[in-house]
């Protein structure tokens, strides 16, 4: 057996004899099934919660009979209609505002001579790594009526009212969502902004269009596909986000669709009605993603070509100060002020809205890290789920990407569409689906169900970035390995995986970050003993804001570490 193995290995790389061809063909067959298997798992992960939700939504009444009663009940429900309106307000507001922020920031970084552009390029995506829930918590510290830092500053220095800012409002929700979703749009538009062929704009200038006309007729239309993709993601995800409205709007009795679903599942729970909301949201998501697909098909022009274009830099002159101020305003609102507020709250014995040097203490950290069982359990749970989940997610999405971009199945466009669906489905809706699907199985109330929800909700994100890398690698490289006699598995391990390493590491870190902070998909699934950090923050929030702030700082540190790692690996991997 051993000689046969080494023979096969030797033969695998050059001239296989007929005997080994048969043998290796058998091996290829099994390993080559992996991508297809991963796609199958993905489809089940997506379809399972979908189907379960739809089935549950048409079951109503004490006799569990099939009817549309849940839907009709929903339509006449005043609270549901208010939640829809509130969701539209915050979602649309956050989308518009984050597009404005992102376009401005990306343009300043990519196309102007504003000072500190290199630094801002990194800083602008930092809010992406912080959790929106942490952001909401910190903005409570900053702008809660009477006790927020900013409100205190307003009343202290401008003698204004100390409830000048009220974060507990739809405006507060919109503001926090905008700040933390800006990096999504930013990451979409910075690429085209940076790599657009400058001759496209030069051509407009030369043929008579001034600065503004060039932007209107050439730059803006060319940016539109990227901007719309980013805007769509922000609209769908920010509307579906559970944590921010929970922290900022629910305390004032203002509800959005996700918090509405949450309260429907609380005692006395109405799963049928909750499932009906789920079907409603899923339908909207499917329609949106179909619209987006058809729009992108019509505008599949590539402004980003492989060439290393150097964009034309606009000299701002005295506007440089304005650009700098805009950048600083965003970084202050999205990173610096929230962190300052959280740290101040976490080291204060008693938070009164203004730092008091005599009251500083580390007792909150001592409590969170060494004494509070809930917090300690939550930290461990989060780390375990994040590490295992990210690993599973990366393996799964690599294999899926391979199937979709290297495979030959005619179903690929359809499968791609199905596997992309969770991109738009709110975490709490997917969590609801998984809850309905698995509530009667032994998985319920274990860490496994949480893991399942995380992977199901977020593997498409990893698949996106891995696919992008896979598409940029010419299949010739793999085919030449095969032509040399390497088996499929050898080709994977010797050629494709090493080439894909930067994307795989980046995807792993992204999933890790998302899993550490995610709340929506697990808020309906956790049980005593399986709390995560984000869940613990909510539970603690009912008692002690200082402890929440402390836990938030701990979470932010974990996310910050992941961010630094991602920057560091990106540079070191690219250099290799």
């Amino acid at each position: 057996m051993e000689t046969r193995n080494s023979n096969a290995r030797a033969a695998g790389l050059c001239m296989p004899s007929s005997h080994q061809v048969v043998r290796s063909r058998h091996v290829i067959f099994t390993f080559q099934m992996l991508p297809g298997l991963a796609v199958l798992i993905g489809v089940i992960l997506v379809a399972g919660p979908f189907v379960a939700t739809i089935v549950r939504s048409v079951v109503a009444g004490p006799a569990d009979s099939v009817s549309l009663q849940n839907f009709t009940g929903l339509l006449s429900d005043q609270r549901f209609r208010a939640a829809v309106v509130n969701t539209l307000i915050t979602g649309t507001g956050a989308t518009i505002l984050s597009c404005v922020f992102a376009l401005g920031l990306a343009w300043i970084v990519a196309r102007t001579d504003a000072p500190g552009r290199k630094w801002f390029d990194t800083l602008n995506v930092v809010p992406f790594f912080l959790s929106p829930y942490v952001g909401a918590m910190s903005w409570i510290g900053l702008a809660a009526p009477n006790e927020g830092l900013l409100n205190h500053a307003v009343s202290l220095y401008l003698s204004g009212p100390d409830d000048f800012f009220n974060i507990y409002s739809l405006w507060g929700v919109t503001w926090v969502l905008s700040l933390f979703y800006t990096p999504y749009v930013y990451l979409f538009v910075i690429g085209p902004m940076r790599h657009m062929d400058p001759a496209l704009e030069d051509a407009a200038r030369v043929h008579g269009a001034g600065f503004w006309l060039t932007i209107r007729h050439v730059t803006a239309p060319l940016m539109m596909p990227a901007l719309l993709s980013g805007a769509l993601i922000v609209f769908v995800t920010s509307s579906g986000l559970f944590d921010v409205p929970l922290a900022l709007a629910a305390p004032r009795g203002i509800h959005t669709i996700p918090t509405q679903v949450f309260s429907l599942v609380q005692y006395p729970s109405d799963y049928g009605k909750a499932a009906a909301v789920g079907v409603f949201v899923m339908a909207i998501t499917v329609i949106f993603s179909m619209l987006q697909r058809s729009y992108m098909r019509r505008r599949n022009f590539a402004t980003v070509s492989g060439k290393g274009y150097r964009p034309r830099i606009v000299r701002l002159g005295r506007w440089r100060i304005a650009a700098l101020a805009f950048e600083l305003f965003y970084i202050a609102s999205g990173v610096v002020l929230p962190m300052v507020a959280l740290v101040l709250v976490s080291i204060s014995r008693l938070w009164t809205g203004w730092p008091d040097l005599t009251q500083f203490t580390l007792s909150n950290y001592d409590e969170i890290l060494f004494h509070n069982d809930l917090a300690r359990r939550a930290i461990i749970n989060s780390l375990v789920i994040a590490v295992i989940g990210a690993t599973i997610g990366v393996v799964l999405s690599f294999l899926q990407s391979y199937y979709l971009h290297r495979g030959k199945s005619r179903l690929r466009p359809l499968l791609d569409a199905v596997l992309s669906l969770p991109l738009g489905i709110p975490g709490i809706i997917l969590g609801l689906g998984i809850l309905i699907l698995l509530i009667r199985t032994p998985l319920y109330a274990t860490l496994w169900i949480m893991l399942l929800a995380y992977v199901a909700r977020f593997f498409p994100f990893a698949m996106r970035s891995i696919s992008a890398m896979l598409l940029s690698i010419s299949p010739d490289l793999e085919e030449s390995a095969r032509a040399c006699g390497a088996s499929w598995l050898q080709t994977m391990t010797a050629v494709l995986l090493p080439l894909m390493k930067p994307a795989l590491v980046a995807a792993w870190l992204m999933l890790f970050v998302v899993f550490i902070r995610e709340l929506g998909s697990t808020i309906l699934l956790y049980a005593q003993g399986t709390e995560t950090i984000s869940v613990a923050m909510i539970t603690l929030g009912e008692r002690d804001f200082a402890l929440v702030a402390t836990l938030a700082v701990v979470q932010a540190l974990m996310l910050g570490t992941a961010f630094l790692l991602s920057r560091w690996t990106q540079s070191s991997l690219v250099e290799n």
């Binding site: 030069d202 030369v206 008579g208 001034g210 060319l222 022009f301």
Partner: protein, 397 residues
């Protein structure tokens, strides 16, 4: 658009007239500490075509972009017609859009979000021409560049040649006085390049616009222009008509660039009396001279400005296609400069056979006819006519 075919005769007559239309004076430009243009001067007469020729990095594209207003030089002056568009001393720097020019980019820069018609009509739309007139002028210019009926097509999925035509149509639709070309043919395949070159030439003769044309391809420059400017290291190395440039380059760099691929350093061995060996030697005095190149002695003619001296260091240049190859021992009594050598390498190019031949002390590039049966290792006799060689004074460098 009615006058598009009519302006021809007038402007062709003006070709080469003394009035410079574009005037570039002492232009300097550096990127950081890297100098790109180190004092460039030239004039472009109205209605003529001037090529900026040179290897990549010589500054030709930077020069063109400075004329277009897409780069701002550090110093100098540029005028187009009677308007000064750039003057570092008077702090004049007209933006691109006010310079009233047309330009064809290397990447074509056809806007992917517009149809062919919208692309071509853009300069007119910006100038607030009524939509109806835009439509008819776009139709005319599209048929002029051979794209009849393409107006409604999306501009994505056009072939390279078609994109090139769209870019060209867009550059001339508003009848600019000056059209700039930035290596417009370099992205096309060889066959299409030749075809487009001819079409471009015809179009230019018909419309009579003044053109500045950047290229690194000497054939293109020779084919398209009235005057060729050879640039090197941000300076004008030579400025001449294509024929003059091709037959009588003034520097070894230019010689090499226009196909004198054998360049050998040597020194003057003997100087004969000036005489009129060629029948029409009038004001130009030609000395027969002998040049020793690595021990070999070559006979040629001195055409330099200063009289030749014995021992003067020189560079001798000749074209490989002017080297005659014959079997060893087959000497022609009337030929001078005959040497024996061994064929080191041969590359078959169909029409030609590109050989490297080693004589006692020289390695010579020679082009033989494609059907000659020469093989590496063969002994051959090569000869180079004295009039095929150019000698450059090397004493100043």
């Amino acid at each position: 658009m009615a006058n598009i075919g009519v302006t021809t005769s007038d402007s062709t007559r003006q070709k080469g007239s003394a009035t410079p239309f574009v005037r570039v004076t002492a232009i300097r430009k550096s990127f950081g500490s890297v100098p790109a243009l180190q004092g460039v001067d030239f004039d472009v007469p109205l209605g003529s075509t001037v090529s900026l020729l040179g290897p990549s990095g010589c500054g030709k594209t930077t020069m063109l972009r400075s004329i277009a207003g897409l780069e701002t030089p550090n110093a100098g002056r540029i005028s187009i017609g009677d308007s000064v568009v750039f003057d570092s001393e008077r702090k004049i720097n007209l933006p691109s859009e006010s310079r009233q020019i047309g330009m064809v980019f290397q990447s074509y820069a056809v806007w992917p979000h517009m149809t062919v018609g919208q692309n071509v009509g853009f300069p007119l739309k910006i100038r607030r021409i009524p939509a109806r007139e835009i439509e008819s002028r776009v139709r005319d210019v599209l048929s002029l560049v051979g794209l009849d009926g393409y107006g409604e097509r999306p501009s994505t999925n056009l072939s390279g040649g078609q994109q090139q035509r769209v870019a060209l149509a867009r550059a001339i639709v508003h009848e600019p006085r000056l059209v700039l070309f930035d290596e417009p043919l370099s992205n096309l395949d060889a066959k299409l390049r030749e075809q487009m070159r001819t079409e471009l030439k015809l179009l230019q003769d018909r419309l009579g616009f003044t053109a500045i044309y950047v290229t690194h391809d000497q054939e293109e420059a020779l084919a398209l222009s009235d005057t060729v400017i050879v640039m090197n290291h941000g300076r004008v190395e030579a400025m001449a008509s294509p024929r003059e440039l091709f037959t009588n380059p003034r520097t070894p760099f230019v010689a090499n660039f226009v196909g004198f691929d054998n360049l050998h350093e040597g020194e003057i061995e003997w100087v004969g009396p000036p005489g009129d060996l060629s029948s029409n030697a009038t004001e130009c005095t030609e000395h027969p001279v002998g040049v020793s190149v690595g021990g070999l002695s070559l006979r040629s003619f001195w055409r330099g400005d200063v009289p030749p001296r014995l021992g003067m260091p020189v560079t001798l240049a000749f074209r490989s296609e002017r080297v005659r190859i014959r079997p060893a021992g087959d000497r022609n009594v009337s030929d001078t400069n005959q040497y024996e050598g061994v064929v080191e390498a041969c590359v078959y190019l169909g029409k030609y056979l590109d050989c490297v031949i080693a004589t006692e002390s020289l390695r010579v590039h020679a082009l033989g006819p494609g059907d000659s049966a020469i093989e590496p290792g063969d002994r051959v006799t090569i000869s180079i006519g004295p009039e095929e060689c150019i000698i450059f004074d090397r004493s100043n460098t």
